[in-house]
């Protein structure tokens, strides 16, 4: 493709991340000899791209494998199969899943993560200076004084006072701690940040503050976000494109507005219908039919389409054949045999 691509790996020029047929199976062990009795397919045959500068939302219920994807991209876990391509700041493309430890260390400057739990994600025994400055120290960026100045600047950037440098995390509220985590993620000027349920643990008013902050930072630094959440309202608000996950598989990918206005997968439709809206009249008008049953055990994924036992539209084909993720409209992919024939309802904007 481009001349900057040094290896034979290639991806679309606009893309920063390309996840290709990624699989992650966790062995389930049993007994004192740790015999493997089966695998949890946390991520199974996932393929999607993230464009430079966009926010890609990943939604799904618990156990859908959405958090595993972030950890795979950041190589906190090793892939079982497939590849994850990342475009570096210099334009070169690398496969994150095969990097050596040393190259990985280098890559960590360019991709970072924001965690869900503002309490367990900050070491309580370190001051803000040590916490936010740790990535700088590890990568040997600048002298002590320079690191101090940089940390102060980062704190200011996320709306915290630079005077807080010597404080420990326990002196801060959940929302503030989350901002400390954001400052730490920004320390090395990354181009890509995975936010794993970054505001789920926060109160409504504080979550809104942090979402606005994240959007401002994205604008200022041209960041690309992978925004993982179970909150459909939040994901719609922040994402340009969305992937919907169910039992380790991607069911639908597409631009937010189009997908929410007219979903192509029955699961997306069901998810959207399930969200209770802060709109009593609308709720009364909209006759909600809750989805039957519950998400299957990740160790015993149903045959065929994993969603078929709960799907209102399932037929014999769905029970027998695993659908592929396929393009049905420009920019929209869906993993459903009947995507073309189904007429699904999304969210009707008032």
């Amino acid at each position: 493709m481009t001349s900057t691509t040094k290896t034979k790996l290639s991806m679309h020029e606009d893309h920063i991340i390309s996840v290709r047929a990624a699989r992650k199976y966790f062995p389930v062990q049993e007994g004192w000899m740790r015999r493997v009795k089966g695998y949890v397919k946390a991520v199974d045959d996932i393929t999607f791209d993230i464009r430079k500068g966009e926010t890609f939302g990943l939604v799904g219920e618990s156990g859908s494998g959405k958090s595993s994807i972030a950890r795979l991209i950041l190589r906190a876990y090793d892939l079982t199969g497939g590849e994850i391509l990342f475009r570096r700041a210099d334009g070169s493309v690398i496969d994150v899943s095969t990097l050596s430890d040393r190259d990985l260390r280098d890559i960590r400057r360019e991709m970072q993560m924001i965690f869900q739990d503002p309490y367990s994600s900050l070491n309580p025994r370190m001051t803000l200076l040590d916490l936010v400055g740790e990535p700088l120290v590890i990568h040997g960026v600048g002298s002590q004084g320079e690191i101090r100045d940089r940390v102060a600047e980062l704190l200011r950037l996320v709306g915290l006072r630079p005077e807080y440098l010597t404080r420990y995390p326990h002196a801060f509220s959940g929302g503030q701690r989350q901002r400390i985590g954001i400052a730490r993620a920004l320390a090395l000027n990354p181009s890509f940040i995975a936010a794993d349920e970054a505001v789920s643990a926060l109160d409504v008013s504080v979550a809104a503050q942090n979402i606005n902050l994240m959007q401002d930072l994205q604008e200022k630094f041209g960041l690309t976000y992978l925004f993982i959440t179970h909150d459909l309202g939040m994901v719609e608000h922040i994402s340009d494109r969305i992937g919907v996950m169910y039992l380790g598989r991607l069911m639908e990918v597409g631009p937010t507005d189009e997908m929410f206005a007219k979903p192509l997968h029955p699961y997306t439709e069901a998810l959207l219908a399930a969200v209770p809206q802060p709109d009593p009249r609308g709720n009364r008008a909209r006759k909600r039919v809750p989805l039957k049953g519950e998400i299957a055990d990740a160790m015993n994924i149903p045959t065929g389409c994993p969603f078929h036992p709960r799907c209102a539209y399932a037929d014999a084909k769905c029970r027998g054949e695993v659908p592929e993720l396929r393009v049905v409209q420009a920019g929209r992919q869906v993993r459903c045999h009947h995507a073309e024939t189904l007429d699904l309802t999304g969210v009707v904007a008032e």
Partner: protein
């Protein structure tokens, strides 16, 4: 719907988080972890009292030769089974400096038993910094100065009485504290090394190595301790140097005692491994060495110290039990267990109950260590609620 907060674009980067909040210089927000632990430990009154008690006892043991009026092996044939001397301040209705009455050794005409009577006319004032038997302070300075004593050479001050050979029990108790407490500390040090190493390997690497170490620990814990001690101690030849036996005994104790510590270390490693902040450090590019030394070990030290503190009494009880049974330390070494051997006989106890003083000391020390350990354990995580 209109958005009230349509702020100018340049101010957007600093969202209004707590605009009206004042900058409070709260001491606790910048307090170091150990300061927080100390603050929380201080709230545990019993632990603080126990800590003070142990510090005093430790000093007494270290300076046993200075603090005690006599030498532990000095035999006095005319002062056997003497009851504890009563220190008084009032003589014939007038207040005086601390003194004791002289003791008269008389024979009960009916039972022909030796009894001691106070001679209320002979006042023997207690002197401080008196000359007595020579010794080497801390093994370095030769001196004969003792903290307290009485001037009369033929009379003795026995705060806790004397034993069958007329040796001063208070003196022997202090000397015994040296051996018993140090046996506890050395034993814990051994088991600390074993427990930390095996627990860390178990928790950090996991897998089959973890499974093996776990099974080994379970096996050791399932062996009844007293028969095991007895077996191991019986294997020690009687002719060996008592000091060498002492070291071996502590090693035997620690070979059994390390499992508890290993369990604590392993548990902490396991729970810390899944902490998000450890993952965050890894994602920042931190090396394994940095993660272990900067993130995992500091989060563990307070727990380890608490566990070590709670393990000491176990060691002390082990030493006492072994020596009491005659399987551990033997005379002439003076330890609390050895001292308690004298109290094995019911007749002696009924005649001279003060021989049980070392037992009381053991109870107090074990309780104190347990209280300190409890306090430390409660304070170990100053960030949890």
């Amino acid at each position: 719907m209109t958005d009230i907060q349509t702020l100018p674009s340049e101010t957007l980067l600093v969202p209004p988080l707590a605009p009206k909040e004042e900058f409070k210089a709260d001491a606790s927000s910048t307090a170091k972890p150990w300061t927080l632990i100390w603050w929380r430990f201080r709230k545990h009154k019993l632990a603080v009292v126990s800590l003070a008690f142990m510090v005093i006892l430790g000093l007494l043991a270290v300076f046993a030769d200075f603090m005690s009026p006599y030498a532990p092996t000095t035999i006095n044939r005319v002062n056997t089974f003497a009851p504890p001397t009563v220190v008084r301040v009032v003589h014939e209705g007038t207040l005086q400096r601390p003194f004791i009455y002289a003791m008269k050794r008389v024979r009960d005409p009916e039972t022909a038993r030796v009894v001691y009577q106070e001679d209320r006319t002979k006042v023997l004032p207690i002197d401080f910094f008196v000359r007595g038997e020579p010794y080497a302070l801390l093994g370095l300075v030769d001196t004969d100065l003792h903290f307290f004593g009485i001037g009369d050479r033929r009379q003795q001050i026995n705060l806790l009485g004397t034993d069958s050979l007329g040796r001063d029990i208070f003196t022997r108790l202090l000397y015994g504290a040296r051996v018993t407490l140090s046996a506890g500390l050395i034993g814990v040090a051994f088991s600390f090394v074993l427990g930390l190493a095996l627990g860390a390997i178990s928790g950090y690497y996991g897998g089959w190595l973890d499974a093996m170490i776990q099974r080994l620990m379970e096996f050791i814990r399932s062996i009844p301790t007293i028969p095991l001690w007895m077996g191991l101690a019986a294997a020690l030849p009687i002719a060996w140097d008592p000091l060498f036996v002492y070291v071996l005994i502590t090693i035997i104790l620690s070979l059994i005692g390390w499992t508890h510590l290993a369990r604590v270390v392993r548990g902490r490693f396991l729970s810390l491994k899944s902490e998000d902040y450890v993952l965050a450090a890894r994602l920042a590019g931190a090396s394994e060495y940095r993660i272990v030394t900067r993130h995992m070990l500091p989060a563990m030290t307070s727990y380890i110290i608490a566990a070590v503190t709670l393990a000491i009494p176990e060691m002390i009880l082990g030493e006492t039990a072994l020596s009491f049974l005659g399987l551990g330390l033997r005379p002439p070494v003076v330890s609390w267990g050895v001292l308690l051997q004298d109290a094995q006989n019911l007749r002696t106890i009924s005649l001279a109950p003060w021989l049980l003083a070392p037992g009381v000391a053991v109870i107090l020390v074990v309780l104190a260590f347990n209280f300190i350990g409890d306090g430390l354990r409660d304070a170990a995580d100053p960030y949890g609620q």
